[in-house]
């Protein structure tokens, strides 16, 4: 096999592995809560995530990919030996993938983004000297890592506080939800179509400038809001179903048993009956049409649909931001292999973005769905209103970062957003230990990624020669 073909194959394999990793581990953050709150079934969640992750990666992945490829290190330093850049990028991909594998085996909270940035900084600094690293860009990126969870938290806090004020604290939560719905729908559709029109579709040679884009986007937003609020108005107040009939036979059986026994067992039966009584009392309270909880229940049901929207936005922005971790290095290396020299501009061929998107979808299909299921089962605290606030805040932050070309950690942003909702007294209990995990991840991941990459870089260089 010719040397170049082998190298190309290796680069593509490593890039796909990285994309697979992203799809397998991180997509679940976006969809897990929607599955947990039963707004989506697992199958629907996987399908929606697949479409939107791919869409985000394909239409919107180039900005961050360019940063990863060219913004972190000065690739013109490799002018004399373009192959070394290929080795470096290959080493980064393999190192990041390996480190992620190790970290997830031990359960360490690491981020794909931090690892790949660390890897590239590592081989750049070791090969090209400290000057080869664009330190100002890197410090921007690192700052964005710190800012993104905070920004996600603040946005989610504001969104949830708004919901609290408008919906929960009103005398008529359901009517207020229906009144608020068009505005939320409008915001969602406008943001989404604005991003596609102004930034996203340029891959397809379609681009509107800001003002016409805003006009078209807000028109789409208005139409979306109209249709959506029409559909929402058709949702009726839910009455929870009666459950008494379910427990009647078992109660009879227990009473029967109690009569048949004496002593210990009789007492035990009495205790079980008491337990059943208190359980039924709590069920009855939930059924009581007098209570407001059925109204809140309907509010949560409506927000279930909003949460699907925010999950879509989250999946889209995740695809757009994280595909860069695989495709930035991959396309850089492939361009060098194809042209034999260092590109002047960062080049992200469209097919590589598609490849990244497909890789993510395969990761989702082969492993990620399990993670979605796990998260859905374990996270029951996040009701649709909370999930919506957290996901919308996080997705907006990630989208803004993506527009700025900043590779950030989507998981950390989402964690920040959930903490924001918690600060607004939205969530029963939160483990603040996780913030420590995030700090550790900032401090540890970058050097580890760098160290592994440098080691791999020398191994690859030794194997293929320079």
């Amino acid at each position: 096999m010719p040397f170049d073909t082998l190298l190309t194959l290796l680069v593509i394999l490593a890039g796909c592995y990285m994309a697979w990793n992203i799809g397998a581990n991180d997509v679940a953050n976006a969809m897990g809560t929607s599955v947990g709150s039963k707004a989506l079934t697992l199958r629907q969640a996987v399908l929606i995530a697949a479409v939107l992750e791919f869409g985000g990666a394909f239409f919107f992945g180039n900005q961050v990919s360019e940063t990863v490829q060219k913004g972190i290190i000065d690739i013109s330093l490799f002018e004399g030996q373009p192959l070394l850049l290929v080795y470096g990028m290959l080493a980064s991909l393999i190192a990041a993938g390996a480190w992620l594998q190790i970290a997830s085996y031990y359960g360490w909270p690491v981020s794909t983004t931090h690892t790949i940035v660390g890897s590239i900084v590592g081989f750049g600094a070791v090969y090209g000297g400290l000057d080869a690293v664009h330190w100002s860009n890197v410090s921007f990126i690192v700052t964005s890592w710190v800012i993104s969870p905070i920004a996600g938290g603040i946005l989610a806090f504001l969104i949830f506080s708004l919901l609290r004020r408008v919906v929960f604290y009103s005398r008529n939560p359901l009517a207020e939800t229906k009144r608020l719905a068009p505005f939320l729908l409008f915001a969602f559709f406008t943001v989404f179509s604005m991003i596609l029109l102004v930034n996203g579709l340029q891959n397809l040679e379609f681009k509107l400038s800001f003002w016409p884009g805003l006009f078209v986007a807000s028109t789409i937003g208005a139409i979306g809001a109209l249709i959506g609020s029409f559909l929402i108005n058709k949702i009726a107040v839910d009455k929870l179903s009666t459950s008494e009939s379910l427990s009647a036979p078992s109660r009879e059986h227990l009473i029967h048993l109690r009569e048949g026994f004496s002593g210990e067992t009789e007492e035990k039966m009495s205790v079980i009956l008491e337990d059943m009584d208190s359980f039924e009392r709590s069920l009855k309270k939930k059924e009581d049409p007098e209570t407001v909880s059925s109204e809140y229940h309907t509010v949560e049901k409506i927000f279930g649909y909003f949460q699907i929207m925010s999950a879509c936005l989250m999946a889209f922005s995740h695809g757009a931001n994280d595909v860069a971790n695989a495709i930035g290095p991959l396309s850089g290396a492939l361009t060098v292999l194809k042209t034999g020299r260092i590109p002047e501009e960062a080049t992200i061929p469209l097919w590589t973005l598609a490849l990244g998107g497909v890789g993510i979808v395969i990761g989702l299909a082969t492993w990620g769905w399990r993670v979605i299921e796990t998260i859905g089962k374990k996270i029951t605290e996040l009701t649709p209103t909370r999930g919506f606030a957290a996901e919308f805040g996080a997705a907006l932050t990630i989208l803004i970062a993506t527009c700025l070309g900043m590779p950030i950690s989507t998981t950390h942003t989402l964690v920040g957003a959930v903490l924001g909702v918690g600060l607004a007294r939205g969530i029963g209990a939160l483990n603040l230990d996780v913030t420590r995990d995030i700090f550790v991840s900032w401090l540890v991941t970058v050097p580890s990624g760098a160290a592994i990459t440098v080691a791999l870089f020398y191994i690859i260089k030794f194997m293929f020669g320079s």
């Binding site: 208190s278 407001v292 996270i379 950390h412 483990n431 230990d433």
Partner: protein, 224 residues
């Protein structure tokens, strides 16, 4: 992914409610205990008192479980000091229920006919007061869902007001009851007089603490 999953802690609301369920059981058994006392059924009284003490013990176990799991890194939608206060007041109610059971079973007691009705009314009123606050605790989940404001909070607020009224009614009955007790002085031996006086006082603590608990819960609401 993992950091996202680890973010969610266990909410103490459900354990708090199951603690309250044991308290509920203990308090409601006092009714059975009193009717057993009317019938002079000493064996039944002993077994009911035993069950009450068992409920109190279970409540203690849950209480310690909740306390031991409140790590400093846990961030709750209910303020941690409020939570601990609520827990200790609930536990206090169970303790008093147990005390009543103990006092009633220390020696065979005959309920003097002169204040028999008042005593029953008094206990019923105290249990009613407790039932109201039990209702609030059982709605903590919904309160958390509506973020401690809005309609749900208004409802809780009105329950708190009704608890204050019930507690006052209980006080009025208690005054009547004590007068009758003092009037019956000559019929009673010193120990029975002493025991009845203590029993009445201890039953009164149930509604006192219920009101205190209700006021503590009222402070968590985000309404004016």
């Amino acid at each position: 992914m993992r950091s996202y999953l680890n973010l969610f802690g266990k909410s103490p609301i459900a354990p708090l409610q199951s603690h309250m369920d044991y308290v509920f059981r203990a308090v409601h058994l006092l009714k059975d205990l009193l009717s057993a006392c009317e019938k002079q059924d000493v064996a039944l009284m002993a077994s009911i008192a035993e069950t009450i003490s068992e409920c109190e013990h279970q409540a203690d176990i849950i209480k310690n479980d909740i306390r031991n799991h409140l790590r400093t890194s846990l961030f709750l939608s209910i303020d941690k000091t409020s939570l601990l206060d609520i827990l200790s007041i609930q536990d206090g109610i169970a303790d008093y229920a147990e005390d009543v059971a103990v006092l009633l079973t220390l020696k065979p007691l005959v309920i003097p006919s002169s204040f028999h009705e008042e005593l029953k009314d008094f206990l019923t009123k105290n249990i009613e007061t407790f039932d109201e606050v039990h209702k609030i605790i059982m709605e903590l989940g919904e309160l958390n869902e509506s973020s401690f404001g809005g309609l749900e909070a208004q409802r809780v607020k009105s329950i708190v007001n009704s608890i204050a009224i019930k507690e006052h009614e209980g006080d009025l009955i208690q005054r009547k009851l004590l007068k009758k007790l003092l009037a019956a002085e000559s019929e009673l031996t010193f120990t029975s007089f002493f025991l009845w006086q203590r029993i009445i006082q201890t039953i009164a603590f149930v509604s006192d603490l219920s009101e205190k608990l209700a006021n503590r819960l009222r402070m968590m609401l985000q309404i004016d």
